[in-house]
């Protein structure tokens, strides 16, 4: 405002207004409604009165402030008072802010007849705008429900206030398209289907006036069946076919002419017919017709693979940046084989899928659906190496939305170097978010794009609160603890540099946002098999549970590391201060131990089997292998050893001799279980053949992590016991001497067991996949001779 007083230019004035609006957004609703918004409104109203508003952004800001204050009538009066030419969209234009804003305000104010009239006019100018149809139907049905009829004053308003009028309007729209010789618009046809759906839901008799679902969907397929979007356009209406499903499919198949006896006649000779056939198959799958017997699935998959291979001949002139016409045959076949694998567990089917997709990718290197599927299937098999060759090439914000496609497969099989490089790149994106976006909040002010200011602030917050960001931070800490530490000193250095607060949990659990894009992969499944809203929520909860587990682990390790070893003299004030700090950290360690224990118990209760989401859905976390592998129990035992060693420094006798002995035995038992799971071997018998056991590999990864943490904690014990060892030479209590001796013995025995594990399994941990899975590779080569990474 000071700037404005010096040089009265609109931008300076509106910067002040926008700042007040932002304060309104950030405050509670009472304060924003009673103070900030009215102030902003008065400031702009002053400019309006003096006729000083200049740009479209300033007009829109005023409308936004009025709307947020609930003053829709005033907003409407203001818009009405403006020239249509004030806004960039010209009259009759599809981005006509003037009309669309009016219609929107009227709808919210429940002035349905006026709103309907505007949407009707907008649709006459642009019959392909879906949002207009939705609002047109909403306003029409609202008028019907209140039995609205025009009176003298409203007769000039041309709105459709009955179902009959709406029917006529929609039918006229279709008639106009039918009369065209040029490209038809999908809007009027889909609007007719939508109206039919709405009428059927209301059990309205007028539904019978429209063509039946069978006729309408067939008509839509006839006109638009060669477009890729046909399936997604009609899929939500297919349920209306009900008992006529089989007739619909039979009629469509007949119209394609591809069910000849001759194998040559079976194949589509042109891309457009092929696309129609693919649409037919997709619809067929959506209607549940691919729920076949095992043999029938395999037979149909084989037919689709044949169609895919033959179909490639139609696409020889396509560029490498194009998708092949027949690619979706391959994807449909893969979905069938995946279904067959879900039922039978025959791993050979997964290998077949990989071979098919690799081959298809060679012909269609830009098809990202193939790449995503391959990454998924390789991960199910417990393989990561070939995924690198797929080159999904995520950039910037895709680390948040699609990062899960890379992070989980790498972590699951312990490809730490690949994992670390992806982690580093992704974290760099998140950490520069704040700096990047702040600059553009300022730009939005500068250029007067006021509505963008709030949007940018919300966007920045959404990225900052990303679950993926929180997970990556904690996983980086754990990755560094495993890879960057070779002795206790380096472990101490690494942990202290991470600046983790063991006492205060800095994670804002309530604000976490799930920004994963779980809709990117193609699916033609029936609605009940698709990823549901509940499953998305379940996956989000599961990810948060995993995050909490890692969060508690890292904080507990930090608390243990920060436990001070007491000096020999207990009488000095320095030691009392240290003792005070030590007590805090010990309390923190105790609390974290208890929280971790409770969390592990909850996970054990909830995760009683491996979760599996739909093929297009997210990966599950490593919670199930973690709890079944007893890693939680082992970690807790190590933490208790540290606590015991700390109590030894205390003369109050909190420690009983038997405590450490018990712990040593428990740890011994747990280590045997952990080693036992790893020693099961990665080649197991299943379905009468040898199969690669991805779960054993995951157990090995978790074992490496748990034992790595164990090493760190034993290092802490060593540090805690160091000052006490000379005690044995002095005249201290014999009991204390024995306890310390036993503690030292226990720690040594734990270390010995751990060392033996590493000796036996070091080759396992550090070997590359080809060495480990030689047996299984023979099976793979049988199907796919030229996998480049081998």
């Amino acid at each position: 405002m000071a700037l404005y007083k010096v040089a009265p230019k609109n931008p300076y004035y509106f910067w002040a207004v926008m700042s007040i609006v932002m304060q309104a957004h950030m405050s509670d609703s009472k304060l924003s409604c009673t103070m900030y918004l009215p102030l902003a409104e008065r400031m702009i109203a002053k400019m309006v009165k003096e006729n000083k508003l200049e740009g479209e952004a300033e007009l829109k800001l005023y409308i936004m402030v009025l709307e947020k204050s609930g003053k829709r009538q005033q907003a409407l009066d203001f818009v009405n008072g403006l020239l249509e030419a004030s806004f960039l969209g010209t009259p009759g234009s599809r981005w006509n802010f003037y009309l669309t804003k009016k219609a929107e305000l009227l709808l919210r104010m429940e002035r349905y007849s006026e709103s309907n009239a505007i949407y009707r006019q907008l649709l006459l100018d642009d019959p392909d705008q879906w949002q207009y149809y939705q609002d047109y139907f909403t306003s029409m049905f609202a008028l019907v429900d209140i039995n609205w009829t025009p009176d003298e004053t409203t007769q000039s308003v041309s709105c459709d206030y009955t179902v009959e009028l709406a029917l006529v309007f929609i039918e006229q729209g279709i008639a106009r398209e039918e009369a065209k010789s040029s490209k038809k618009l999908r809007g009027p046809y889909l609007a007719c289907l939508e109206l039919l759906q709405l009428l059927l839901k209301r059990n309205h008799s007028a539904a019978s006036r429209l063509a039946s679902p069978l006729e309408q969907i067939k008509q839509y397929f006839t006109i638009f069946g060669d477009k890729n979007c046909c399936f997604s356009d009609i899929s939500n209406y297919l349920y209306m076919l009900e008992s006529e499903t089989d007739k619909f499919l039979a009629d469509i198949l007949t119209s394609l002419g591809l069910n000849g006896e001759n194998t040559e006649d079976m194949l589509a000779k042109e891309p457009k017919i092929m696309q129609r056939h693919v649409c037919y198959l997709a619809v067929s799958r959506r209607l549940g017709k691919h729920c076949l017997s095992h043999q029938e699935k395999l037979r149909l998959a084989e037919e689709l693979i044949h169609r895919h291979r033959e179909g490639l001949t139609l696409g020889t002139d396509l560029l490498t940046t194009d998708l092949q016409y027949s690619d979706n045959y391959c994807l449909l076949a893969v979905h069938l084989l995946y279904d067959a694998w879900c039922e039978s567990g025959d791993q050979l089917l997964l290998w077949t899928i990989c071979a098919l997709l690799e081959s298809a990718l060679k012909s269609s290197p830009s098809n990202f659906h193939i790449k995503l599927l391959l990454t998924k299937i390789y991960s199910y098999l417990g393989i990561y190496g070939p995924s690198v060759g797929i080159k999904l090439e995520l950039r910037h914000i895709q680390f948040d939305t699609l990062g899960y496609m890379c992070f989980h497969p790498a972590l699951k099989v312990g490809h730490y170097s690949a994992w670390k490089s992806v982690l580093t790149e992704a974290l760099l994106f998140f950490s520069t978010n704040f700096k990047d976006t702040s600059e553009y909040i300022i730009s939005a002010y500068k250029y007067g794009s006021f509505t963008k200011v709030y949007e940018f602030v919300q966007f920045r917050q959404r990225l900052n609160d990303s679950l993926q960001f929180a997970l990556l931070n904690v996983e980086k800490n754990i990755c560094d603890l495993i890879l960057e530490t070779s002795n206790h000193q380096s472990a101490e250095k690494v942990l202290t540099s991470m600046d983790i607060d063991p006492i205060i949990d800095e994670c804002k659990w309530e604000d976490l946002r799930d920004n994963r894009d779980l809709d990117v992969m193609l699916t033609w499944d029936p609605p009940h098999s698709c990823l549901t809203h509940e499953q998305r929520h379940l996956s989000f909860t599961e990810q948060k549970q995993w995050l909490r587990l890692r969060n508690l682990t890292v904080r507990a390790l930090t608390a243990a590391m920060l436990l001070p070893a007491l000096p020999l003299s207990h009488e000095s004030t320095t030691s009392q201060a240290v003792n005070g700090g030590g007590t805090n950290m010990c309390d923190a360690l105790l609390s974290l131990h208890d929280q971790l224990k409770q969390h592990v118990e909850e996970l054990e209760t909830e995760h009683t089997c491996e979760r599996r989401y739909s093929l297009q859905g997210p990966f599950c976390t490593l919670i199930y292998p973690f709890v079944t592998g007893r890693h939680g129990a082992l970690l807790l035992q190590f933490l208790r050893v540290v606590q015991c060693c700390f109590f030894l420094q205390d003369d109050t006798g909190k420690l009983e001799t038997s405590d450490l002995q018990m712990l040593t035995l428990e740890i011994d038992e747990s280590m045997k279980l952990v080693i036992g799971r790893v020693s099961e071997g990665i080649i197991v018998e299943g379905n009468g053949q040898q199969q690669f056991s991805a779960s054993t590999l995951t157990q090995a990864v978790l074992a490496v992590e748990t034992l790595s943490h164990g090493c760190l904690l034993l290092g802490v014990c060593d540090k805690l016991l160091q000052p006490l060892r000379p005690v044995t030479g002095r005249k201290k209590s014999k009991k204390k001497e024995e306890t310390v001796q036993q503690a030292v013995t226990s720690v040594i025995s734990i270390t010995t067991v751990k060392n033996s594990f590493f000796t036996r399994n070091f080759a396992f941990k550090s070997s590359s996949i080809p060495e480990l899975s030689n047996v299984n590779l023979n099976l793979f080569f049988y199907y796919y001779e030229f996998l480049p990474c081998y």
Partner: protein, 173 residues
């Protein structure tokens, strides 16, 4: 059937079905936000009835005097929503907004190897104004066509008279 509306920041969380296409680059946040802050009217998106993002266009206006023009920075349509005339719809929107701003012409750069796009723009009334050597960096670098369409302010069509010789990127304003 589309909903044409302004692009918002939240759309960046959902545009993978468009951006995973090899010819579509995913830029850093600053790139998108610069356009949203400065030229939000040119940053439009088309949404399908099932809420999929079908495609989007990014543009700007720049230049002085008779060189004041609209520019198409990026135009992309998801593979499953191609051949629906969406690119033409986007271009028409950008031209309309540029007309309103009294621009003289609209221009864009396209890889010389992108035959499909070049033919499409020609059908929409664009012509090659000049060739810019090694405009796109890569292995190897690739030339670009600078294609233009005159708007009503350019009554004599001066802005689209093709240059006789190619230029280098540093010659482009």
């Amino acid at each position: 059937m589309t909903t044409l509306r302004p692009f918002t920041c939240d759309d960046m969380f959902r545009f993978n079905n468009v951006n995973l296409d090899p010819l579509t680059e995913t830029y850093g946040l600053s790139f998108y936000m610069q356009y949203l802050a400065h030229w939000p009217e040119y940053f439009l998106l088309a949404e399908a009835p099932n809420e999929d993002i079908m495609g989007y266009i990014m543009g700007k206006s720049e230049g002085h005097g008779e060189k004041w023009h609209g520019h198409v920075t990026a135009l992309t349509v998801a593979p499953e929503y191609r051949r629906l005339g969406l690119a033409a719809t986007f271009m028409s929107a950008l031209e309309e907004i540029s007309e309103k701003k009294r621009a003289y012409f609209v221009d864009l750069f396209v890889r010389v190897s992108n035959k499909v796009a070049v033919d499409m723009y020609k059908q929409l009334g664009y012509s090659v104004y000049r060739r810019v050597l090694e405009y796109y960096s890569g292995d190897p670098d690739e030339d670009a066509f600078d294609m233009r369409k005159a708007l009503s302010m350019d009554t004599e069509g001066k802005s689209v008279i093709a240059l006789q010789h190619p230029v280098r990127p540093e010659d482009v304003e």
